[in-house]
């Protein structure tokens, strides 16, 4: 029997990994990946708890919404990254400190 706790532990580990990536990586695309990992960790929890709502499927539906939003977010984020790269010739967030150019 797979318990909820099992899912949550996996989700936590996944979340922490994403966190680590976000904080430590010097590459905007990897940071984006980190964000996706964290989102997925959250979605995993939604899905895992969604098992206990057979009628309304709220967990699964919100997982779906989250996935879709993540996709949108990613698209925008990538566009931003591209632009930043054009501007600064780097995608290292440490070197992008100025709000204006």
């Amino acid at each position: 029997m797979i318990t909820l706790t099992d899912f949550m532990v996996v989700s936590a580990v996944l979340f922490c990994t994403g966190l680590f990536i976000i904080v430590s990586k010097k590459n905007a695309i990897q940071i984006l990946i980190g964000i996706e990992l964290m989102l997925n960790a959250a979605i995993l929890n939604l899905v895992a708890f969604g098992k206990y709502d057979r009628v309304n499927n709220s967990g699964q539906i919100f997982a779906l919404f989250a996935i879709i939003l993540a996709a949108a977010t990613t698209a925008v984020a990538l566009a931003i990254i591209l632009n930043v790269y054009k501007q600064y010739k780097t995608i290292n967030p440490d070197q992008i400190k100025d709000l204006k150019d």
């Binding site: 904080v23 430590s24 967030p93 440490d94 992008i96 400190k97 100025d98």
Partner: protein, 708 residues
């Protein structure tokens, strides 16, 4: 003071004022209008000519007649009124006549003597100014004015000594003359102040007249000098002051009487070149010779003796003895110096000092009249001697300039044998020289023998060491004979030394025109006996009759013996000198001897002043300036530095303690700010990291600590 002035007196007064003011008018005229013009000489000469004529009128009117004393208020200071006025008595009219009579020939002589000088106008300006001051000096009636003109004649002398102001020696000499005279001046000033304090007036007649305060109403007793006021003075009772009742005694300590005497003595010593203030006079010969003749031989230097004559009643016996001693010593010392000098004018200068010593001595022994008589005769013959010397020097200078020689025209070594070239000058010099020696038939005999006779009589009365004074006076007289002979022989006899030294030179010299000869003749006539006494062998003249005698003498053998001894001695000296210098029989006073050196170096007095006194004063003043700069100013600067130290400490405290706290707080804030700033570094991840850190800290606190 007289209430009413008689008409004939009024005329005399006006004449006197004219006599005094004419030279002044000439001075002003020359000063303002005739700056460069040759006319200035004639303006001055005519002024003095008129003055001389008037002065004879005044002289005849006053001599042995009534004393005229008029005055007007000059200014009021406090309750004392200072007057300006004239006092004409025998003494002042004597001088009033003498000065223009001597000045006239000198003026005439000067028009020729100075004619080629660039400062011709200036010269006559000064000369007129001198005459004015000198004439005013003799007629003023109070001590303040007396002092004023006393100093003005010194000033005129200063100007004339330094007439050639581009010659360093001349300006050194005039500085010296003025400063030495200043020493005398402050002495005189002190004396005047003392007299004023005691008697409350400056009036000469009131003080020293026959019924004067000094003469009649003052005495020294129990260590105080008292003024017994037995008639009412004008006292401003209305002001509520201490009322000076009649019969009040004013007193000051007796010592101040001696100080007053000392002050007057200093004044006399400075003006009349008495030891110890005589050293300026030989140096003053740097001025034009005509000036030396007028000022430094005849008139101004006699002012000291005149002053003694004015304030004579003030002196007590001790003081008179001091005067006699100093006069005698000066006469002797100056005569010894004159023996060896090689500069023609210096010989005459020391001779003047010596003769002035005679006069002061005569005052000291009470031969008041003889002293002034000698003053008068001396004025004529010494002036004559100087004028002759001027001609000699002038001619030698011509030779020098004609032949471009490098010689000192005043040096005796460059003269000799001038008898034939300058006959008139020679005769005049001879007359004046004999008068100076005091041989019979000259005026000098009349006055000098009078002094000597009285000196012996005076000493006889006193006895003891006082005998030294007439003895030395006699020796001086013989020394005078010797140096006069030496001078005349060296200048006029023998061969022309210059033509020996420089065989190729041409010598065109002569007595010069009438402007040279007339003054010589005038003065030579005045140096002979008839002007003063019809008896050529008397030792007094009509002049002495008009002046008071203070000494008491026993007419006796002395009166007969002294002139004989003195004259025989003098003639012996003349013969000795003739033998020595003309016949070359005997080398007098072997050159390198100690006595010769002392004499030649003027007893080292001047050197002593220069080395010791002047240097001491200068060192002292330098030291004082050092003191001022280092100590007083240093103290000020020290205060400043202390203040600055305190200020520095305060500033330090302010900076590091007071401000330090502030800075510490600020630095703390800045540090914290710096830390906080580091968060705001624009690094997104850093923000995130810190945020998460905060979250985790909250979590840890919340979960691990609070809940456990």
């Amino acid at each position: 003071m007289k209430e009413a002035i008689l008409p004939q007196e009024l005329q005399t007064i006006y004449l006197t004022i004219l006599i005094v003011l004419l030279p002044f008018a000439a001075f002003i005229l020359n000063f303002l209008f005739l700056n460069k013009s040759k006319a200035s000489g004639w303006v001055s000469t005519i002024a003095i000519l008129i003055s001389s004529i008037f002065s004879i009128f005044v002289f005849t009117a006053i001599w042995n007649g009534p004393v005229i004393h008029v005055q007007t208020i000059w200014f009021t200071i406090g309750d004392s009124q200072v007057h300006a006025g004239l006092l004409l008595n025998n003494l002042s009219v004597l001088m009033l006549a003498l000065v223009p009579l001597v000045a006239l020939p000198v003026h005439i002589y000067s028009t020729a003597y100075m004619k080629d000088d660039a400062g011709y106008g200036r010269y006559f300006r000064y000369l007129s100014f001198f005459c004015f001051s000198m004439l005013a000096l003799v007629v003023v009636d109070n001590l303040v004015l007396f002092y004023a003109f006393w100093e003005l004649v010194g000033f005129a002398s200063y100007l004339l000594i330094g007439f050639w102001f581009d010659r360093p020696a001349a300006v050194q000499a005039n500085k010296k003359a003025f400063i030495m005279n200043r020493i005398g001046d402050i002495g005189l000033l002190t004396a005047i102040i003392i007299i004023y304090t005691l008697f409350g007036t400056f009036d000469l007649e009131k003080l020293f007249g026959a019924e004067g305060f000094v003469t009649r109403y003052s005495y020294i007793e129990n260590g105080t000098w008292s003024f017994y006021l037995n008639h009412v003075l004008h006292v401003p009772v209305s002001r509520g002051w201490t009322v000076m009742a009649p019969h009040t005694v004013t007193q000051i300590p007796a010592i101040w009487q001696y100080v007053a005497f000392g002050g007057i003595f200093l004044g006399v010593a400075a003006k009349s070149a008495q030891f110890p203030l005589h050293t300026w006079l030989p140096d003053a010969m740097e001025g034009p010779t005509s000036v030396s003749a007028l000022i430094h031989a005849a008139t101004m230097v006699a002012a000291g003796v005149f002053l003694l004559g004015r304030v004579y009643p003030m002196f007590n016996t001790t003081e008179l003895n001091i005067l006699a001693a100093v006069g005698c010593f000066t006469a002797f010392m100056a005569a010894t110096i004159a023996l060896t000098q090689t500069d023609l004018k210096r010989i005459l200068a020391y001779s003047t000092i010596s003769q002035l010593g005679y006069m002061v001595m005569a005052m000291g022994i009470g031969a008041y009249a003889s002293s002034l008589f000698h003053l008068v005769t001396h004025a004529f013959f010494k002036c004559l001697l100087f004028l002759c010397a001027g001609i000699v020097i002038h001619q030698i200078k011509h030779v020098k300039e004609d032949n471009h020689l490098d010689i000192d025209p005043q040096d005796l070594a460059n003269m000799g044998g001038l008898r034939k070239k300058l006959p008139v000058t020679f005769v005049a010099t001879l007359i004046a020289g004999l008068a100076l020696i005091g041989l019979p038939l000259t005026s000098g005999y009349l006055s000098k023998e009078g002094i000597l006779v009285q000196a012996f009589e005076w000493a006889e009365l006193k006895g003891g060491a006082f005998m030294l004074i007439p003895v030395f006076a006699s020796i001086t007289s013989w020394l005078t004979a010797f140096y006069v002979a030496r001078m005349i022989l060296k200048v006029f006899y023998g061969d022309m030394n210059l033509s020996k030294l420089y065989p190729n030179i041409t010598i065109h010299i002569g007595d010069g025109g009438w402007r040279y000869q007339l003054p010589l003749i005038m003065l030579a006539l005045c140096s002979l006996f008839p002007l003063f006494s019809l008896n050529p062998l008397a030792h007094s003249g009509w002049l002495t009759g008009g002046l008071p005698q203070y000494g008491q003498y026993t007419a006796g053998l002395v009166e007969l013996m002294v002139p004989v001894i003195i004259n025989v001695g003098s003639i012996a000296m003349l013969y000795y000198a003739y033998m020595a210098y003309i016949k070359q029989r005997d080398k007098v006073a072997a050159q390198p001897s100690l006595l010769h050196r002392i004499s030649f170096n003027e007893w080292y007095i001047d050197a002593f002043y220069q080395r010791v006194i002047v240097r001491a004063v200068m060192t002292f003043s330098k030291a004082l300036y050092w003191f001022d700069l280092k100590v007083i100013d240093g103290l000020v600067n020290l205060f400043e530095r202390i203040a600055r130290c305190i200020a520095g400490a305060a500033a330090w405290f302010d900076k590091y303690i007071v401000d330090g706290l502030l800075h510490l707080a600020a630095a703390l804030v800045a540090y914290i700010g710096g830390i906080a700033r580091r968060f705001q570094n624009g690094k997104v991840q850093y923000y995130l990291f810190s945020m998460l850190l905060a979250v985790i800290v909250v979590f840890i606190l919340k979960i691990l600590i609070w809940n456990s």
